[in-house]
Structure formats: C-alpha cells, structure tokens
C-alpha cells in the first residue's frame, strides 16, 4: 500500500520532469524560430559581413540547434543562464533581485488570498442556494470573465484617483516604514488577490458542494445536525484533498496575473523583466524567464496532483 503511493508520487514527479524537458524544447525552438539573424539584429543594418560573421562565431550561432540546446541546458544546471543581448550583463545578475521581488508579491498575495477564498468558498457552499451564495457566485464569474488589467485599472481609478488613498505606482526602493510597505504593495496585491481568489472560491465551493451530495452528509442532516456542523465536521475533512488541490491550481493563475500586474504598476519583478525582454527581443533573457515561470507553474500543478493522489483513498 505504502509502496504503491510512493510509486504513484514518483510517477507524477517523473511526468513533471519529462514535461519540463518538452517545455524547454518548446521554449528553445520558439525562440530559435526568430526570423532574421541574431547577429545582424545586434549589429544593425550597416554592419559589415565580416563583423556579422565574427559575432556569429563568438556567440556559437553557427553550431547546429541541438548543440546550442544542449549547451543551454547544461549551462542552466551550472547556474550559468547566459548573457543578456540587450545590455551584455550576465542574466543571473539581472534575475537575482527581481525574482525575490516577484516572490514577495506572490507570497503576500497567497497569504491573503488563501484564507479569504477558503472562507468564502466554504461558507458559500454551506449556504448553497441562498442570496449570499448567489452573490458570491455571480461576483466570481464576473471577476473570472474580466481581464486582469481591467481589475487593476478599476482599482487605480477607485483608490488612487477618486479616494486618493494609495499611490498609483509601485516604488519598492523608497520603503522606510511598515506603513510605506503597505501602501506600496496594497494595489498590486489587491488586484492579484481578486483574480486568484475568484478561481479559488469557485473551485473550493464546487469541491465542498460535491461532498455535500454524498449519502453520509445526508445522514448527518437527517439525524438533525446543524448546517455548520454538517459542513465543518462531516463534509470538510473529506473535501480537504480537493480543496488543497484547488488552492495549488489557483495559485498557478498567479503566474499569468503577475505578468499584467507588474507591468501596469511598474513593479520591478521578473515578469516585468520578461515583458521588457520581449519588446527588445532579448532572447536569452526571455528563455530564462520563461523557464523560471514554467518551473514554478509545473511545481504547483504537480503539487496539486500529488495532493490529489495522497488524499483520495480510491486513487491510492
């Protein structure tokens, strides 16, 4: 039994690893598709053919794609992410502080969104069919159907323009007190929390509602248990697996949200770095950022899968 679980978990991890390999091939070949020669782009139109050829040789662009791919992968394993085209700085230096910034933003959002969403999701399922439930459901559908930049612009409009409570832009280097920190992070975190919570509330509610439809919950109802007791004592322990699964899955929506939120609030994180890299066509930087994002995303969905396996006795 125990061995079966660990073999299932190992299988998941192996699948994640294979997926990561395929993803890295996809990312590499997508950036290798670039029409036009990188050396020509870097040197400009007026470069002499000799100069272009020299640069090509220096950058190993004449090697076959498979060799370049293997070199790139090997470099990543050694912590060498290559050099940015745009400003000729090692990518590791560029990413270092930015990654920490993004993690801060994501961590803060998760710390707020998870308890908030779980409370709303579980209570909505508890009072299913009431006005409260309907309001929560309609609000989450509304938020899910709307682009993140709209939530962000509405938040800026409300809190920075009309109410004048908060600054519209983030400046993380001017933080002196806790109050400053709150003011700076309030808007980006709020925007991200909205999107992530909406996903999480929907999935949590669905998971709890599903357990509420089981015979043993009906039994609890028939023996006269109150609604909160029925949900919290009888249903919730069994819905815990799907709920944790839902949390991990919704947190992976953070990755998409972060791209928009960092851009709109000018937050110096890794997503902003990547968007800038796309506009300057800085390929090594794009590749590295993309791999970091995919790694985070895969880690989250693999975690969700493993939790689902561990929590479901039928899957064991």
């Amino acid at each position: 039994m125990r061995r079966q679980i660990s073999s299932l978990v190992m299988r998941r991890l192996l699948i994640a690893l294979i997926t990561l390999l395929i993803v890295s091939i996809a990312v590499f070949s997508a950036t290798a598709l670039l029409p036009g020669d990188t050396a020509t782009i870097l040197l400009g139109q007026s470069a002499t053919p000799e100069a272009v050829e020299g640069l090509r040789k220096a950058m190993h662009l004449n090697d076959p794609a498979i060799i370049r791919f293997l070199k790139w992968i090997a470099g990543i394993f050694q912590g060498d992410f290559g050099t940015s085209y745009a400003n000729n700085v090692p990518i590791a230096n560029l990413i270092h502080g930015r990654l920490a910034n993004t993690m801060k933003l994501a961590g803060l959002t998760a710390a707020i969104a998870v308890p908030f969403a779980l409370t709303l999701g579980i209570t909505a399922a508890m009072w299913r069919g009431t006005l409260y439930d309907r309001i929560v459901t309609v609000a989450t559908i509304g938020i899910i159907s709307v682009p993140e930049f709209m939530i962000a612009t509405l938040a800026v409009l409300l809190f920075a323009v009309y109410l004048r409570w908060l600054p519209a832009l983030s400046f993380t280097n001017e933080i002196k007190s806790f109050y400053d920190l709150m003011r700076t992070y309030a808007m980006p975190v709020m925007t991200l929390t909205f999107g992530v919570s909406a996903q999480m509330i929907r999935m949590t509610r669905a998971a709890v509602v599903e357990t509420l439809n089981t015979p043993y919950v009906e039994m609890a109802l028939l023996k006269g248990a109150s609604r909160p007791r029925m949900v919290l004592r009888h249903a919730l322990p069994n819905a815990l697996g799907p709920i944790v699964n839902a949390v991990a899955l919704s947190l992976s929506y953070l990755l998409g949200g972060v791209i928009i939120v960092e851009t709109i609030f000018n937050y110096p994180g890794i997503a902003k770095l990547m968007v800038d890299a796309v506009s300057t066509r800085d390929l090594p930087l794009i590749q590295t950022c993309a791999m970091i994002f995919c790694l985070g995303y895969l880690a989250l969905i693999t975690a969700a899968d493993i939790v689902a396996v561990l929590s479901n006795p039928r899957l064991r």
Partner: protein, 284 residues
C-alpha cells in the same frame, strides 16, 4: 446553439425553455457580432480622424464616449475594435477547437502509442502558462494578425484536445462503436459519424468558454503592447493607448475595458444558462 428540427425519437420540440439571463446574454453577444460585421457603416467618425481639440475629452453629445489621447472618437474606435477582438478570437478558437477535437477523437478511437504520444506532448504544451506562451511566441514570430491567430490557436489546442478526448473515450466504449468497428468502418467515418454527433453539445459549450479565454489572452497581449499593432487597435490595445488618461478618470480607458467585460461575461453567462441537455458532459 443548435436547435434540431429533425424529429427523430420522441419528436424534439423546436427551441428550449427561455431563461431570461441566458437570453439577455445572447442579446449582448448578438449585438457585438452585428457591430463587428457592420462597424464601417455604423461609426459616426472615421477612426483616424482627430475630432476633438482636447485629449481625453469627456462624454458629450457629439462624442458619445469621449475622445482618446489624440482627440479621436472613442466610440468609433471601440466599434471598429470589435472587429479585431471578435474576429481574431473567433478565428483562433475555431482553429484550436477544430484541430483539438479532431486530434482528440482520433486519439480516443485509435488508442495505442498514438494516443500516448499525443497526450503526453499536448499535456506538456498545456503546462506552459498561456500568457507566458503568448509572450515567448510573439517574441519569436512577431505580432502580425495572422501570427496572432496562429499563436492563440496553438495555445488553446491542447485544452480542446484534452476535453474532446475525455468525452470521446466514453463514447468509444459504447456498443454502437463496437458494431461500427465490426462492420469494418474506417477511422474518418468513426470519428465523423459515430463520435462527433454524440459529443457535439459539450464541445460547442467548451468552444464558448475557450473563446472567453482567447479574448482575455488577446486583450492581455494587446494591453502589453504585444498584440494587435497600430494603426489597428483591438479593445486591449485601446486600453493601452489611453492608459495615460487613468489619472483623469478618462472615459477612453474605461469604455474599452467595459466592452471586453460585456462580451466575456455574456458568453460565460450564456454557457452557464444553457439547457443541461446541450451542456452536459455525459452523452444521453
């Protein structure tokens, strides 16, 4: 919505019971489709014409939704933007669903190594966050409109594949499939005549939901400046152009966002209020 008039078994009646939310959502969608089709005949001002001496002008009788950062009429630009947002998204989602569903049914019917390979590969593609995928591909192939359509359809094919395959696997175990196989029917017949009719309803509902994702991703990319490029502008690009008006609470920032929201919320509500018979996963 597919309303079948062919009265086969039990004589299906034309139409379904009307649900007010669903009907009004359908109305909004219909309105935007009409706008997208006939925009050039409906716009009060030319999209490139500077009609206001002031930028980020307020709502007025002449300029219904105010003016943008150059003093152009936002109402006209939104109407024309509908063409890009709806057109690109619809083209992308049709390609994605067509190829995804075709591959999914093939994988389910053929089984074996083809199924395994396809599923592994497409699941791997599926585990790249869509916005990130969009960024990487746009960086590589640029953001011309055909490139955008291709990118978006590649991003959403794996999801459609997964959905269709899960449905088709169920149908595949039915008795009539065994009979058809024994009759010696070939793969194209099996997927087109035996599987497809049995999964069509849920597949169309899924197409609607996927359409919302595509609209959101396209708007997101355009908002980042990597989607539809000037002189054309879809709704996401309109928000980006006018983001400078945010501190003045300019209507030019608000209304394009509202246009996106009205479309996506309507599609979601419509799908949510579809009769069970169309939406349900399990074929009857």
């Amino acid at each position: 919505m597919t309303t079948s008039t062919s009265s086969g078994r039990r004589g299906i009646r034309l139409g379904y019971r009307a649900n007010p939310v669903g009907i009004s959502a359908l109305g909004v969608i219909f309105l935007w489709v009409v706008v997208a089709l006939f925009a050039p005949h409906m716009i009060p001002h030319s999209v490139g014409e500077i009609v206001d001496t002031d930028y980020f002008g307020p709502v007025s009788r002449d300029l219904w939704l105010g003016s943008d950062y150059l003093g152009r009429d936002i109402f006209s630009r939104i109407l024309m933007g509908a063409r890009y947002t709806l057109g690109i998204s619809l083209a992308a989602v049709s390609i994605a669903c067509f190829s995804g569903v075709a591959l999914g049914m093939t994988a389910a019917v053929a089984g074996g190594w083809l199924d395994t390979m396809l599923s592994r590969f497409l699941d791997a593609l599926n585990s790249i966050p869509s916005k990130l995928f969009g960024l990487v591909v746009v960086a590589a192939v640029g953001s011309s409109i055909p490139a955008l359509i291709a990118t978006l359809s590649v991003i959403y094919t794996p999801g459609a594949y997964r959905f269709a395959r899960a449905l088709a696997v169920n149908v595949n175990t039915m008795d009539f499939m065994v009979v058809a196989r024994i009759r010696g029917e070939k793969l194209p017949y099996l997927i087109a005549s035996e599987i497809l009719p049995n999964i069509l309803g849920p597949v169309l509902a899924d197409l609607g939901l996927r359409f919302v994702f595509v609209v959101l991703l396209l708007s997101g990319l355009s908002f980042l400046g990597l989607g539809v490029q000037p002189p054309y502008a879809d709704w996401g690009a309109l928000v980006r152009e006018n983001i400078g008006g945010l501190p003045f609470a300019a209507p030019a920032v608000l209304f394009p966002s509202l246009a996106i929201a009205s479309l996506t919320i309507s599609v979601n509500l419509l799908i949510d209020n579809l009769p069970r018979r169309i939406r349900d996963r399990s074929p009857e």
